[in-house]
Symmetry: none
């Protein structure tokens, strides 16, 4: 009977599934913003539901717990960031230029969608107990890590960057960029974040080049 319905109401059903997917994403977006702005523990489920003008109970039809929601968000965020870097990886430019573009894309995102970067810093980084179960060993951020790894391996292979332990290089990217965004969030940077693209991409390049 289900099959029958599927055939019969194909258009209708698809619209429903689509609608649900859209709502799911809108929950992710809203929760991402609230978690980033107010912290994981200070953001309540009713906060999220109210912002979305939906009921608490219904929110649980989409995500079975607050923790599950937090994990879906980090995956989502990691994918988005990873996709940006993938584009750069696929460009036919020098490693130095790629570094510049990665820093640029990261800081642009920190400016235009600060919640995405801040989620890393303020939610993922510091609520180990939430992500321990299901995100062990950074698998929930593999979307992002993988692209940095590809960038680094390519650059080493092409002879433009020194060969060293990947994590030494990864820590530089992740930590340096994250650190700058943190400073931005603390309002201590004397200049706009984009001002630093030049300095920082040069520093990174010098740190890693052969």
């Amino acid at each position: 009977m289900l099959k029958y319905n599927r055939l019969r109401y194909k258009g209708g059903e698809l619209k429903i599934a689509e609608k649900k997917a859209l709502k799911r994403e809108s929950i992710i977006q809203t929760a991402l913003q609230l978690f980033s702005k107010n912290g994981f523990h200070k953001t309540t489920i009713p906060d999220i539901a109210n912002t979305l003008k939906m009921s608490v109970g219904n929110l649980y039809n989409y995500f079975s717990s607050k923790d599950v929601l937090a994990k879906e968000i980090i995956k989502y965020t990691s994918e988005v960031l990873g996709a940006e870097i993938r584009t750069i990886n696929n460009m036919d430019i020098s490693s130095e230029e790629k570094i510049y573009k990665i820093v640029e894309v990261y800081f642009t995102m920190a400016k235009e969608r600060p919640e995405m970067i801040e989620y890393f810093l303020r939610v993922y980084l510091s609520n180990r107990e939430v992500f321990n179960d299901g995100c062990e060993g950074m698998i929930c951020v593999s979307g992002f890590i993988t692209e940095i790894m590809i960038f680094f391996d390519d650059a080493v292979e092409s002879g433009s960057l020194r060969n060293q332990d990947f994590f030494s290089a990864f820590g530089l990217f992740m930590g340096y960029l994250g650190g700058m965004v943190f400073l931005k969030g603390e309002d201590v940077l004397p200049k706009d974040i984009e001002f630093y693209v030049e300095d920082i991409s040069r520093n990174i390049y010098h740190a890693l080049k052969v």
Copy 2:
């Protein structure tokens, strides 16, 4: 510092003040450990009191709120770290060697007293609402920042490091080192943290040198 107090004060009533200072510090130490291990929100005041075998009520005689305690801890931690770097700043060695020593001291601390570094990452970094009031603009970590600033200014003046916006350099130190310790905490580093001293101090030096 404790030793210093002991020398300074003599007599009966001063011993009481001394005793109180000692207890105050033991609370800081214990809370530091628990906050770092379990997170700020997952650590309760009763948790801290139980660990110290003292009553909750009495704990409040030393710190008027959980938030105040958290702020005292970040200052304390920042002082300890800052003192270590001050020692290095006062050495008569090259900037390159200083960088090496700073990285070394940081990673040694991450290994021997991981709670001090993790407090930065897991508590200070991500509970803005707690530190907003009283620690604006990173004044509670000025003990650490100041020393990095002195190191950097000296090195620029001596002509060994390139002159650039201080925060570009500071973000590199703070972010890179913090990032590595985070990776260590996530258990993703294939080698012991101390293994990375060589790589990372070289990377930092190359990034900043003239």
Copy 3:
């Protein structure tokens, strides 16, 4: 009974009524099992609907509330048990033999369809607030009580059982048999429930005989 309906009604629209009756019964069966196994409050309407692969909304087309469903089930269960005893009542055997058969039938049901007996113990017995309105004074289990009453009156009239307050006798049947099934459910009985038929029917007979 279902078979009977099938014979009685013919034609298209009647088939619909038949279909509805079938579905109604399947809901009762499923809910009976779930309520018995997991308890009334731990069984949710979605649980029942999912097990039946039907929607919650549709389930409400058959039973207007969870409480109504629970009441229908106790009536159904009582009818089934009553029917079994009715058969025994109609047999041309001694009261002693009837007691044996009643115990036997009860324990066989406890073994083969444990949910029917457990529903009495775990749902009906303990959720007074659910059955208060509509099942006052045990009218929802009259199907079962009536047959025990008929058995007892016949036996007294025939001179084989002592004349005493009906409830003294009824409490013995209901309580003793129910108690044994409870012990079975708690897994404390050293032997299979059927082993006890002999003992228990003898005990009951001795308790009640003239």
Copy 4:
């Protein structure tokens, strides 16, 4: 220091511990009444706290969860009932008289403290999921069972009751008496519960005697 305090304030401390024990018992009493009257799931922790004019939070200082409270109550109830029967067991009277007294004591309690018996029927019997963990195999009601077992073994040894599987006899006591109290609770008994002592003790004796 603790030791010191204990010596110093011995009187005071004992009073505090005593006070706590009293409060603990008052919680048990109140929860027992509410659980029995309204059912386990329909009684909320706020209900209990309000009745006691204490705060919800403080109640949790005495019992770590609703389930734990329920288990403490069944142990308590079982002890009280067991103590009553122990007294009878120690009397120098015939088994027949002991049966009479057991039934009498049970029905008296059902009349004067109905919540104790009803707790067995309406809470313990039917919320398996609550008692599963920690009360397996009826260990939480062993206070009661043990005394029935002692009564039965003594009576068999003295030659006054037939030797049979203990559970056949235990089921008779527990089920029959419980069943009668259930009927009382349903308000279907035409006479006062005490009226049935005579009938029921005779029935039990006849059921079990040699």
